[in-house]
Amino acid sequence: MKIAVLSGKGGTGKTLVSVNLASVATTSIYVDCDVEEPNGHLFFKPQKLKKEAISVKIPEVNQNQCNGCRACVDFCKFNALAYIKNNVIVFDEVCHSCGGCVLLCPNKAITEKDQNIGLVQRGISENVQVLTGILNTGEPSGVPIIRKLLQTISGDNELTLIDCPPGSACIVMESIKDADYCILVAEPTLFGVHNLNMVQNLVKLFYKPHGVILNKCLDEANPAEDFCLKNQIKILGKIPFNTELGALNSNGLIAVREKQKYHEIFSNLLAAVTREVGSETVINT
């Protein structure tokens, strides 16, 4: 069972939710797809680390074999190639590694070279297998790393929590693609509603069953809750806004491993999610 945790902006509580849900399960896998700024490992402090470098393919041109036909330049939709003074120039950072130029070159003047863009790190934290994607600073796209992370767990039936990057861009779509269920984490503000609306549109586009966890709840009006009720979006549960939880989290501690009451809150949330996934599965078949 793969559960993606996402939100329209950073700081709503994606990592809080996914780290704690993964920790209350008997055994689970936690996958940090927020490759530009992965922080789940700061909570888990995983042991027995194994690292695997991730690279992408970038075209390399043998200028002597090039006859200047420009098939590669004309084909590239990302404009990663230029042909100037009888030489092909490759803009590595603009290239999306589609390999089209290599296939099209009639003179076989283009080959591919590996370019390292980051790594995938695996480790163990008590009952949780922790997978972290780390993109090198300055690299334009984390998609290849996310693809590798999800490939690694594709055959696994274990409960898996996918901690997504914020927003609703390509890297988020890549992260939720294989998910059985999406948890949307929302803040009780108008801005929070705007962001919730954005990610809900995204998960609907992917036909993903989804529900909302209302984070930072106070005893006052909650625009995010109103939005869910109005649009008939399943509310999975609420997490209170309190200093103790905030302090535990700020200190890099996993709340459910520290205090029984948070263990209860997140156990209930996990039960609610599991029920939803179960009923959705029934609905889907």
């Binding site: 990302f78 404009n79 100037i84 030489n87 603009v94």
Partner: protein, 122 residues
């Protein structure tokens, strides 16, 4: 000598366009023949790499000089390879800039910006 300028419209009274890669048109002015023509910038619709594509198009016309308010680093790399010199425009008037260039009053463009690639964030 041929000179290129990014412009907002395809007429001589058009304003110089503040963006290079996504300028709607490029004026190509030939100083010897005193002729001008306008190139449609097809790169304007590109999802990314507009500067590279626009620079390729300009290099293909055989210009030696580009007058522009600014230029991104990828386009600048294309121009460097093409041995096209970049000069900084002084105002939005095409004629003022052409005149200033011919009189040797324009400065080389020094500040190449890092580009606004990757959709400006998420």
């Amino acid at each position: 000598m041929k000179i290129a300028i990014p412009v907002e419209n395809n007429s001589m009274d058009a304003s110089v366009c503040f963006s290079f890669g996504r300028a709607p048109y490029f004026l190509i002015y030939d100083t010897e023949k005193n002729e001008n023509r306008f190139l449609d910038n097809s790169a304007i619709a590109s999802q990314g790499g507009a500067g590279i594509k626009a620079a390729q198009k300009i290099a293909d016309t055989g210009v030696e000089v580009l007058l522009t308010p600014r230029c991104g680093e990828n386009a600048a790399e294309v121009f460097k390879n093409a041995e096209i010199k970049l000069y900084k425009t002084i105002n939005s008037s095409v004629e003022d800039n052409l005149k200033a260039f011919i009189e040797g009053k324009l400065q080389l463009l020094g500040d190449i910006h890092p580009g606004f690639h990757q959709h400006g964030g998420n």
